[in-house]
Subunit: 146 residues, 12 copies
């Protein structure tokens, strides 16, 4: 089963970006450390990142090729993009929304996710582990196994 | 490591309560099905449920006995209880907030969690699997292992 | 047919509590004066009062024993308790919400009832008679007779 | 004792109007089925309906002829008419506000009644029975008998 | 003259709870250090604490036994409990609301006290001394002496 | 230790100003009746009043001469003056905010104090005794003695 | 010069309507007592009253017959009628808005006048004298004489 | 197929009413110029205008005589009338809402249409052509032909 | 009878200040042109202007010398000064609030007057004539003569 | 005359995207079915779609090549893009905004169009026919012919 | 060309006032360090500071003596003073608003400047350099030279 | 020292875009006229413009190559882009936000800048000169020289 792990704006700077909030691990390191979890779940993951809202919409659309699910950290677009929400609703691919930081303990505008109502669920606040938990969540959703 | 799995009001009715929203599984069945995950994570879990806000506060306080963490579905009190939020902040025991339904796809008053800023993170929308994911999240938080 | 007449916080002080708003009749006197209406409607009523939100939730849950309906004056919890609303939605027992004072002619925070969307209907402002009207309303709901 | 049963806009279409919300009973049928309750309460009822806010104001004014009370379903004007509220306050005739549907379980703008603070009380959500309950409420208000 | 010093949720953890906000003094130590002030004012104090909203309501009700006043730190319930406010209004016992931290310098939801309009007055921000000032305030209220 | 007792607009009219709200005692009488408390606390008090926001700012600035603290009833400026709040923050002199009336039981715009977050604490609602309590509060703050 | 004095809903009940707010003078008595002022200003006045929003719109439209101005007390429609505002803007006849009671000292919804931005000005709070002042205002507007 | 073209308050003044906003064409001239479009669409149109909300409700009710659709410019009532919205929902006749001016480029209170959710759709801003487009829209809705 | 005509900030610049809004007449010219009206009403007027909020408070206080009333254009302080409102309430001298421009047709923050609830009434929008109307209003208030 | 028919995010998925809301017709099919209307209006249409906000801005800019008008369905960007609104205002090309679904009968955030104030007008809710109506509207705007 | 550099409340305390926000430089030191920039721009500057809103209004009025412009740091009055805004609009002297701290990164009430709409522009956040930049901005505005 | 002058959407149309707001100068002409200021400040400037939010994020990211600062006019994205704000916070390159028009004197949605809290400061309203002032501000920030 192929899973798209989709990352939004500024996540390419993980590791150097505000490390007090986002930690010192790069996105590539997160991908590497999560690989074992993916294997255990028999998931093939494709990691993509873009700073462009339109490109993220395109990548969501492309999951109609049979991709089984999306683990999505939309970054800043979480709070401003109706286009991404509509894209998720349009393709029907199940989406698990993840965030590394606890968005509810930050500025008020980060408390609201426009994406969340179109996703299956949300995993927030566990740093790099949010991705691993996201993969487990999508796997459970697809297979029914905890 | 002992983990308290704490459940708030009306969760004792899981299985019969609005099954279109909460599913047909009882809380006992969720506990049973989650047992294997707990064992694999070397977690000893104690499941408690109460409809009384004060009793939930008391149970959070009791985790100062060395309980390593709390997986907490505060149910309706999620949206109204400052007392539970203060209790979490007071004891310092790490808390993972979980919800079975996707609260962001329901009535607007359910979108806001007063608890969330005091918790490590939040897992929302995966039905019974939210508990298993919550246990994994607390285990990762305590051990650093994904 | 058994009906639970459920009373929330501070209603045990009826008679002495702010008599300009709530009148000089005690809850026991209301129960007594309503008895004839109950008999005429062939309803067996059980009157309960608690200042504890959790206990009120428990009492609502207990109506799954075959109680036919609830006439409920949730007092102050009307305006703050999602737990009671969820309890009503969870058990499926039909609920008629009653208030003695006209909550719409008082402070603004009393104008909103969190319970009302989960109840069949609401009867507001008729003093002790709100209970008798509530019994009639539940009887009509259950029997179809005016 | 004469009671005016006053009905606002679109209530002349009861029976065919959105039957999932308002039921299949016409206003004339409600009047007929409520007649017995009125007789039992020794009330003479006059049923009026108008789609015109000004006419409803005129009809409220006319109750200064000695009409003992008003059971009033102001329909859509409930939520928008200060004129009706002022009319009720101006004439001093006691008013019981009734609604067939549970306005608190519908669109948010229907949750607020501009009339309610000027009425004795409100009866909401019992379908055609709201009228019978309204008559009982006005009778109790006038006679002191439950 | 007997005075109830009533403490709400999480105040049993004073001393260990968020000491940067609430200080390192326990509730028992505050009671002890305040004893001299009480004696000087000829007040007999009874200190109670509960995490249960309903129990706090019950304790307020119990002051109808002739207790002269209440010094009340309702903790988190300050901001959410209409039941406590109604209890204060119902019993008529004079209440001085106290808070140890300056609630106006904290999160916005702590700026509003639902209790305050029903109390005589409010003393906010003086740490353990808020209790001593509260006793002096109630004494002045009862005796007219500064 | 010198303490400035600073009074804002319209407090020069105490005694004749809305006596139902503010009582019949003049500011000079309050100063006189509080003198004994000040002596007992070994505080030298200087009482000032001005209707001019700028003059109040100047007087706060002047406390950098070694004045130990301010007991401040900013009157109407409490609710509108950022300048006074900034003055308090600028000089660092500890300030206890006092009000004679219970501002939380009056018009909604009086519920918010712009000053409060810059003060140590707030004493509200005890009539002339608010000043005496304010002096005790500042003394405790400066000496650590209850 | 002909002036329309236009009165909205419930003003036909002046004299008996809430005399604590509106006084004990009837609309006819106000017309009579204002006659001398009108004569002194060389104004011919036509007094009209209607409870019907549409009729008030019609009467405003009719001023295109050469009526020089309108003194208008729109009553409750002041706060709810965009139609009246648009009518005023459509005909171009100068309008002086008057109210007998001080609408700013009453319920909050009465503080806003939808009409005011389309009128020349507003006269509020002087009881029957508001009409005389309104006539003087329209006369000054038309003649330039104070 | 008969279509009602229904016009609300102040539209009888088109041509002379604020021509910078509404143009210099009268309603009769719009009817005349639209006649050809109606013929081409095989629609029989009946043009009605009223300044009375209640009469507009009555006219909507009357379309239950087999009228195929309504093109409706509710004027000022667009923004204030729940009664018209309920009338549209009650009769089931398809409604196309039209406005001559671009309501979204005017005062904020004109941006919201209470009618729109009950209509098929909305055509806004094209001057007299809004009516012709409205007829085309209703024709397409009824026939499926563009 | 002596009347204070009190003018707030920037009104000393009348004549040159934004003449499209405030006209080309100076405050002295308004005083002169209003003199005859004052004489006819047997009022002795004292015209004062200040840009200082505190000075305006002082001047209001000074009317306790037997001044019969105040005609007050508080300018910008209308919208921001609780101190002026409290001063008016404190002295009890009757106040007629006047504005030259139609504040309801300008920026939204000018629509609200903090003063209005403490005044007898308000006269808005008649340019220099607002002062003459204000004098007439205060004269009527004091003498009962139109 | 060349007209750009510009489509925003997710409209490339028309036909498969949430067919209960958007229907089963693809964008290409809509273009084809609208061709005849375009021909009849002597309009040359160029249909473009992009999921990229910046690309849509670029395409609007490109209409300065002499394109006569734009029929624009901005999809999700309707509700979030100031950039598109500014682009429309910057180029001066007349724009008709169209939507297939009735945005006023959907989620509240879809009720507001940031684009609308910069467009000539808006056509909402007619499914594929919204495009044909949009072409007619732009043609009328450019030629004056209905 | 003479420029008034006008400073509002608490700016006389620069250097000692909250140095983490405002730095350790006094206002006199800023004036000195800015002198060279002023000379280079051929501007004669007059530096004034007042804690009195009315005095600031007076100083703005005084610029009608031929002062070419104002660089104005209104301090706390920025957020509360309509009087200053009206003064700026009244005199017509061009004003550049400056702030030393980044008001947008502080408390929410500091984000809004009532002055800004009446000024040419705003310079925010550059510490003492905000004054030098302000002088350059006013010079460019007056001379057209960068 | 290299400085990026970054321009957002629609700024490529400067010169022809709404010249009453933005003036008749093109972006290239601004760059040219600012060159001398840049030289005097020993700054090497690179001017970039894009209509694509993602590309602007990429360009901000690219300043980690040693670019000393950014002068940024984010145009419409100022008010809607959390992604740009996060990008600024992520790279740590100092940013001076500039706007040509006075955004505080335009539509309300332009008053809020999401960028501002992440920037050093903001320069608003000086037309093309805003860029020159921005360069000076960044130079002062980097060198400490006015």
């Amino acid at each position: 089963m192929k899973i798209l792990v989709l990352n939004g704006p500024n996540l390419n700077l993980l590791g150097s970006r505000q490390p007090d909030i986002y930690g010192a691990t790069t996105l590539a390191e997160i991908e590497a450390s999560t690989a074992e979890v993916a294997r255990a779940l028999a998931l093939e993951t494709e990691w993509r990142q873009s700073n462009h809202e339109g490109e993220l919409v395109d990548l969501i659309h492309a999951t109609r090729d049979g991709t089984g699910g999306i683990v999505m950290n939309a970054g800043a677009y979480t709070h401003t993009s109706v286009a991404l929400r509509d894209a998720v609703a349009a393709v029907g691919t199940p989406v698990v929304e993840v965030h590394m930081s606890n968005i509810h303990a930050r500025e008020e505008f980060r408390h609201v996710s426009l994406l969340a109502p179109a996703a299956i669920g949300q995993i927030v606040g566990f740093g790099p582990a949010s991705y691993a938990l996201g993969l487990r969540a999508i796997a459970t959703h697809l297979t029914g196994r905890l």
